[in-house]
């Protein structure tokens, strides 16, 4: 299950949905808003999504993870709206009989989500300026292979 959420993510509720007597492993990932990016002090973040395409692409990513790894369950939720430092921007949870598949699948889902979902991030800096991330006029194209994750 993939979804875009305009309200705060409730990780405990999501994890309960993954409950499965066959599962020996549950790996979760939380992406948080941090206070520094490329040397600038960040005060808040704004996420915007093209919701129908983000949800169909996110659903596709979860299906790929299920096809590649021996999973029992997979959920990903991504926030939109104005987020403050420490807020959860994204949550991924996967279950499997064994931990190897669960770790690998969780990593796959977050890496693909970052590279492929039509979601944009605007950083609000302490200095009062703002910037859409990756949208300076030099750099990677949309949908390009993911840069090494930097959480």
């Amino acid at each position: 299950m993939f979804s875009i959420s305009a309200v705060p993510i409730d990780p405990a509720a999501l994890q309960r949905r993954l409950a499965d007597a066959r599962a020996g492993a549950c790996v979760t990932f939380e992406g948080w808003v941090r206070n520094l990016n490329e040397g600038q002090t960040v005060g808040a973040l704004e996420y915007e999504a093209f919701v129908p395409l983000a949800e169909s692409e996110g659903t596709k990513i979860l299906a790929e993870a299920r096809a590649k790894f021996d999973l029992l369950g997979a959920i990903c939720v991504h926030r939109t709206g104005l987020l403050q430092l420490g807020d959860m921007a994204v949550w991924v949870g996967v279950t499997a009989a064994h931990r190897g598949a669960a770790f690998d699948a969780c990593r796959y889902v977050i890496d693909e989500a970052k590279a492929r979902l039509p979601i944009w991030k605007k950083e609000h800096y302490a200095a009062g300026t703002t910037a859409w991330i990756n949208c300076a006029t030099r750099g990677e194209a949309a949908g390009a292979p993911a840069a090494p994750p930097q959480f």
């Binding site: 999504a49 944009w120 991030k121 949208c135």
Partner: protein, 80 residues
């Protein structure tokens, strides 16, 4: 000419100054349409850094546009 509807997000929404517009265009592909709009509105991102979605599905930059299409230009993404 075909009539299309364009929805804008993120940096393109801000540079356009509105969320969406309806347009009659002679552009045959998403790239041609983006170049037309870029010239008109001064979008800073070059066409090769924009992806396109038509009717809520990713399409190739040279996919044919049809009357009634709903187009979204997708600037570089930054989820997570």
């Amino acid at each position: 000419m075909i009539n299309v509807r364009i929805q804008y997000f993120a940096i393109l929404r801000e540079q356009r100054g509105q969320n969406e517009e309806a347009l009659a265009t002679a552009a045959a592909t998403p790239t041609a349409l983006y170049e037309e709009l870029r010239a008109r509105h001064g979008f800073t991102l070059p066409a090769d850094r924009i992806r396109a979605a038509v009717n809520e599905t990713f399409v190739a930059a040279d996919a044919p546009l049809r009357d009634g299409d709903r187009i979204v230009f997708i600037p570089p993404v930054a989820g997570g």
